[in-house]
Amino acid sequence: MSTEEKYLNCINCPMGCKIHVTLNADTIITISGNTCPRGEVYARQEIINPQRMLTTTVRIQGGMLQLLPVVSQSTLPKRLIFDCVKVLQGVQIKAPVKMGDVIVHNILNSGVDIIASRDVKEKST
């Protein structure tokens, strides 16, 4: 049986505990180095299914701005981040847009919508 070791930096508070995780195949054997229970929860999540928020921009036509800032409505699997950015680089929408409008529904079948971070009004002519 081969065991694997991983080191993580806990992000819950300024302590920034260095957490040591040992794994056998994909099963967590030990978690140490954390100084509070939140560290263990964080380490499990990071090892089993790391999640990240995504923020980027998409092109917008006819608006007061060239770019619309967008955000994932909840966290996405970390491994999908780059592919999601690629999808969003190809998106072009038309003004006006309201904060919270869905820009891409269920991106890459993740179950997560990409939404507008702010209003963008039509450019007054």
């Binding site: 992000i11 300024p14 302590m15 780059f82």
Partner: protein, 422 residues
């Protein structure tokens, strides 16, 4: 139409100015004016497209533009609040007359019964850190690059070295990577990062971007365009150690080397600045040493969280409104706040003790990272407040509250101290 006299004139429409306006309105001010130099309000938040804002103030995690919009939505329907965009303030004087210019009115003047300064801060530049070399294209402050990428739609370069590991530097390392650039390194002169652990993990480690602690850039190469940098290790006094130099090829250098409160208007008005925070010296109501001129947000001291900017602006807006309506009485005494060696800054710098009890919150920055600390606020006779924390860092502002009602002695100066290793 700009009037001649307002209850409260607010200089700057970023999060501090918008929150101060809302707070002034809630506290009864009837004529409030915000002067903003950009074409829309929101300030620097509009280019900070990442999330993590608003958890304390709005109890919701928002992006920068989202936070700005929330602040704006609170005031946009209020007929008592007027917003003048594209308007640059040229001068403020001690009589609270404001001179401004915009395309519709030309140069014009108005007077505030009170004024709130909310001009924010600006980035330190290459000049401020004196890096040797020619002046090739490709050297930007991190914030300028952020504006290009997030608002204007072009990238400043493809092969990037970032100097400084503050949060803006870290956020830009991730942003440039997602835009298809290669971030070669983040170089930090301190032996520790100046950003949040979360940003270290999610902006650098996630993308395998190397961080060189206790290192700095000693030369920038290239005559027309940046071709690379020379990096060197520094000693305990932050001086480069000869023989430790190595080169990194790159076409762009981003500087994330600190922020300075923007106080040219304040200085010209005759307001006394704190040489350490570079912002006006204020009391707990955020009133400067010119009566009726208040200040809030990054113009007072650089914050790491916009939520704290809003908290401060609520105070400044409230007392500006009360003073404009003649609803403020004089204080009983003026107390200084002294700080011990490991405390870098403390805002407010002094307290105007009132007859009524108040909860007074001190915003503190430490000089070096410490673990298991006790922060104590006391006067010569009694302990006023104590706070234990598992870890503190210079980059994370600490708040400590004192209830003035619990004070036995109302005429003694305060001292803020910190003890480590408890």
């Amino acid at each position: 139409m700009i009037k001649q006299i307002y209850d409260v004139v607010i200089i700057g429409g970023g999060p501090a100015g918008l929150t101060a306006a809302y707070s002034a309105w809630k506290n009864g001010a009837k004529e409030i004016l915000i002067l903003e130099r950009d074409w829309e309000v929101g300030g620097i938040l509009q280019q900070c497209i990442h999330n993590g804002f608003g958890i304390h103030h709005f109890h919701e995690e928002l992006t920068g533009p989202g936070y700005a919009q929330r602040c704006y939505e609170l005031i946009k329907e209020k007929k008592e609040i007027e917003i003048s965009c594209d308007t640059m303030v040229l001068k403020i004087n001690a009589d609270k007359i404001v001179t401004a210019v915009n395309p519709h009115n030309g140069i014009f003047h108005m007077q505030g019964r009170t004024i709130v300064l909310a001009m924010g801060c600006r980035e330190r530049t290459r000049g401020a850190i004196q890096t040797p070399g020619y002046r090739p294209a490709g050297i930007y402050t991190a914030g300028a690059a952020q504006r290009m990428v997030n608002m204007e739609g072009y990238i400043p370069g493809k092969n990037i070295v970032i100097l400084g590991s503050g949060d803006i530097g870290l956020i830009m390392a991730r942003r440039m990577t997602l835009e298809g650039c290669r971030v070669q390194a983040v170089v930090e002169i301190c032996p520790y990062s100046n950003g949040l652990t979360r940003n270290m993990v999610q902006c650098l480690y996630d993308y395998n971007i190397p961080l060189y602690l206790s290192h700095t850039i000693v030369a920038i190469h290239g005559k027309d365009r940046v071709k690379g940098i020379t990096c060197a290790k520094v000693d305990a006094y932050k001086k480069p150690i000869p023989g430790t130099e190595f080169d990194i090829a790159c076409d762009t250098v981003l500087l994330s080397v600190g922020l300075i409160p923007e106080n040219e208007l304040s200085s010209e008005a005759g307001i006394t600045l704190d040489p350490i925070t570079h912002g006006p010296i204020v009391n707990q109501h955020r009133e400067t040493d010119i009566p009726g001129i208040f200040a809030a947000g990054n113009v007072v001291h650089v914050h790491d969280m916009v939520d704290f900017v809003s908290e401060e602006a609520e105070i400044a807006g409230k007392y500006a409104a009360l003073k404009a309506q003649g609803r403020v009485t004089g204080g009983l005494a003026d107390l200084k706040i002294r700080t011990d060696n490991d405390i870098g800054t403390c805002v407010p710098q002094h307290i105007c003790i009132q007859k009524n009890n108040e909860i007074i919150t001190l915003f503190i920055r430490v000089r070096r990272p410490m673990k298991h600390v006790q922060i104590t606020v006391r006067n010569s006779e009694e302990v006023l407040s104590e706070k234990h924390m598992s870890a503190v860092r210079p980059s994370e502002m600490i708040s400590v509250s004192v209830n003035s009602g619990n004070m036995k002695s109302r005429y003694e100066d305060w001292t803020v101290s910190i003890r480590e290793g408890l």
